[in-house]
């Protein structure tokens, strides 16, 4: 319903997606012009003109990056705050689940933030180089960001318009509405242990690989950091769902990761998800820079950049691990070492 746009948070979310789309589209248009006219070897006024247009593109995309991050936070926040207004939704999970596009919109939000961030990494790498060896690639890459942010805009619009705020029957009498219980399936112990084990191992591996990259930026370490970050990010979803959330709520059947965003869980979800997202992005960024090392023709510059990124990647993953472990450790200390899930938990 169009009136859904009257909700301030939803309106802002759509506006943010719109601003991102406009910024990236304008940037892509300029990038396209640059691609058509770029000549690497000549240092002429035309070249200068193009370099300055390139600076414009980068400025616009960096602006878009800030907006996508804000937009991602807004998506989650809006869903969290709207829970009381949606039939059967106890937290953001229910809100996302209440429309077919909900989780998709969350995914596109994260994807466009990630795409803009990785593009900025590529841009920063390009700026470090003495020759514009990566400039063409950089602008070509931007053309792939465009469909992503457009998809996000459409997804946000669909999500916002699909939300059903209608209250059946008059305001005060019951509508006998269906209650969608959040996620009430308890995880099988095996899957739970596997997911948390993989997430823990991969995250630790990502930290080590990042630290190794910082020490010696070799290809294997950088690619390992990227791959382990991705694995850890994927495994983190069930691990948070099945382990961190139940421990945070001290109830083996409370499996909702979105409830971690709420004040009664100390808002743990915000820093936890932020550090997971940042760690994943920086890990992938290490691999991205590695993949461009040869093309850049200046591996020393690329390595210097990797050293900088690696430090933050390791820090983000460490923070994520500490935050994820905090509720588990707290529970185990309070319970004297007894697992929340019984003897074999």
């Amino acid at each position: 319903m169009l009136t859904n746009l009257l909700h301030p948070l939803l309106l802002l979310r759509v506006v943010a997606a719109l601003v991102v789309a406009v910024l990236v589209l304008v940037g892509a248009r300029v990038a396209w012009q640059v691609l058509l006219r770029w000549q690497i070897s000549r240092a002429s006024e035309g070249q200068l003109y193009l370099e300055r247009r390139a600076e414009l593109v980068a400025t616009l995309v960096q602006g878009a990056l800030v907006m996508t991050i804000a937009g991602l936070a807004l998506t989650v926040l809006a869903a969290d705050r709207l829970a009381p207004s949606i039939r059967g939704a106890m937290c953001a999970y229910g809100v996302f689940g209440s429309t077919p596009t909900g989780f998709f919109a969350l995914g596109t939000s994260a994807a466009s933030a990630a795409a803009c961030a990785l593009w900025v990494v590529l841009h920063r790498l390009d700026l470090r180089l003495a020759t514009p060896a990566l400039t063409r690639r950089k602008f070509l890459a931007l053309l792939f960001v465009v469909p992503l942010v457009l998809t996000d805009l459409v997804a946000q619009l669909r999500f916002v318009l699909d939300l059903d705020f209608t209250v059946v029957a008059s305001c005060c009498s019951t509508s006998l509405d269906g209650t969608v219980a959040a996620v009430e399936r308890a995880a099988p112990a095996g899957a739970r242990d596997l997911a948390s084990g993989v997430a823990l191992a991969a995250a630790l591996g990502a930290v080590l690989a990042a630290l190794f990259t910082r020490w010696r930026p070799i290809a294997a370490a950088a690619y390992a950091a990227g791959a382990l970050s991705l694995v850890a990010a994927v495994a983190a979803v069930p691990a948070v769902l099945w382990v961190v959330a139940p421990y945070a709520y001290e109830s083996p059947h409370h499996l909702c990761p979105f409830c971690l965003l709420r004040a009664d869980a100390g808002g743990l979800g915000w820093p936890l998800f932020a550090s997971l997202f940042t760690g994943t992005l920086l890990g992938v960024a290490l691999a991205l820079v590695e993949s461009q090392k040869r093309a850049s023709g200046a591996s020393a510059e690329a390595a210097a950049m990797q050293r900088g990124l690696a430090r933050w990647a390791a820090a983000a993953w460490l923070l994520a691990l500490v935050l994820a472990a905090a509720p588990v450790v707290r529970y185990l200390v309070l319970s004297g070492g007894v697992s929340l899930f019984g003897a074999h938990g």
Partner: protein, 395 residues
């Protein structure tokens, strides 16, 4: 980091060199942020008030309708309702409104059910009722003030039965509630079940409604269905539903107000665009100087964006403080009516300050970031000026 700090220092200097304009733009931004912020703050404060109120509501209240009008509920169904799986407790409540001529107002009479102990902590003076205590009452602070009584005094209330059966009841005041939330306790008088029945003319065997508490609120739907089968003409109020209705109404009204404010935002952004695009001669020269002495395009650009961002943050902070003062110190004159029309029934409402990350983020994304975004292209234009052109143009 050090570089950014140095650029921020430069940006601050640049803003103070053009302080008239900086102040004007900051003020404009503060105004818009203040308007949006007021709507958000007020909406959230009211929502919090509703949430706080809902905490005291039963999970389900069972009322009865006869011919579409509220009727009393026979208490003989209590046992059957209590037997429904998932129902933790059932209280047959007696409550209603009583007109008190000396203060020309209706007050809410509530028969004690033994669950008022929660109010004990909120006692301003005196104590709460003892179980089954006759001829005594506790009342809300606003009501106590209106009648001009304090614990130890007695109030006389004329029963609502009418005609020759009307009798005068004397109730001794044993306690006064705190009115932290005026919504809940302001006009309430709690007395024993028997006294309430006498005052309101509710016969034994009947109740105003049934307050049902559930073991898990999620089972409200199932329990409602079963209760509806037991009580003829039942009208069942679900607490969750009530909360949702309030939230939706407040959201909708707040959204409408926000939408009406959008032109103000658009005007501000247009103004900002205009100001930022049209570089003054002095600015053009200054940027020429920076370029000439070896500032890179990105450095000039960053410095310009810091200027925008500092103005945006300054304006947003001022706007938020202004909105806070307007809503919570001044109680939102003018705006309040638009958001809570229905509360005219209630005595004046002291809003409890509610500010959280969502509001801050919303204001930053909604107003401050677009303001900076509008400055991106003009900043780039300025930063790519040729140093010799900029300098000669100003010579």
């Amino acid at each position: 980091m050090k570089r950014q700090l140095a650029l921020i220092g430069y940006a601050l200097g640049a803003l103070s060199r053009r302080r008239g304009r900086s102040a004007a733009v900051t003020a404009g931004l503060a105004l818009v942020v203040g308007l949006f912020g007021s709507v958000l703050f007020l909406g959230d404060a009211l929502r919090a008030e509703v949430e706080a109120g809902a905490r005291y509501l039963p999970d389900l209240s069972v009322q009865r309708l006869v011919a579409g009008r509220p009727a009393l509920v026979p208490t003989d169904v209590v046992g059957a309702v209590r037997g429904i799986p998932g129902v933790r407790s059932v209280n047959a409540r007696v409550w209603g409104y009583l007109y008190v001529p000396p203060i020309s107002a209706n007050i809410t009479i509530l028969g004690a059910t033994g669950r008022e102990a929660t109010l004990h902590a909120a006692m301003v003076a005196g104590r709460s009722l003892r179980a089954g205590e006759r001829g005594a009452c506790v009342l809300g602070a606003a009501l106590a003030e209106a009648i001009g009584v304090e614990p130890g005094d007695e109030v006389s209330l004329s029963s609502d039965v009418g005609g020759s059966d009307a009798t005068v009841h004397w109730l001794r005041i044993v306690g006064v509630f705190h009115d932290a939330s005026a919504l809940r306790t302001a006009d309430v008088l709690i007395t024993s079940d028997a006294d309430a029945r006498n005052l309101l003319g509710v016969d034994a065997g009947l109740a105003t409604d049934l307050a049902v508490s559930l073991t898990t609120p999620d089972e409200a739907r199932v329990a409602s269905e079963k209760i509806a089968l037991l009580v003829a003409g039942a009208r069942i109020v679900d607490k969750q539903l009530l909360r949702r209705t309030y939230a939706l109404t407040l959201d909708g009204r707040g959204g409408l107000l926000s939408a009406m404010l959008l032109p103000a935002l658009a005007a501000l952004l247009l103004l900002a665009w205009d100001r930022l695009t049209g570089l003054s001669e002095a600015e053009r020269r200054e940027i020429g100087v920076l370029k000439a002495i070896g500032w890179e395009v990105s450095e000039v650009l960053t410095a310009r964006l810091w200027e925008s961002l500092l103005v945006a943050l300054g304006g947003a902070t001022l706007g938020v403080l202004g909105a806070y003062a307007y809503v919570f110190l001044a109680q939102a004159p003018g705006l309040a009516g638009a958001l809570y029309g229905w509360s005219a029934l209630y005595p004046p409402l002291r809003l409890t300050p509610q500010v959280d990350a969502a509001q801050a983020l919303a204001l930053i994304v909604g107003v401050a970031l677009p303001f900076v975004a509008v400055g991106l292209v003009p900043a780039w234009r300025a930063a790519t000026l040729d140093p010799d052109h900029a300098l000669r143009g100003g010579a």
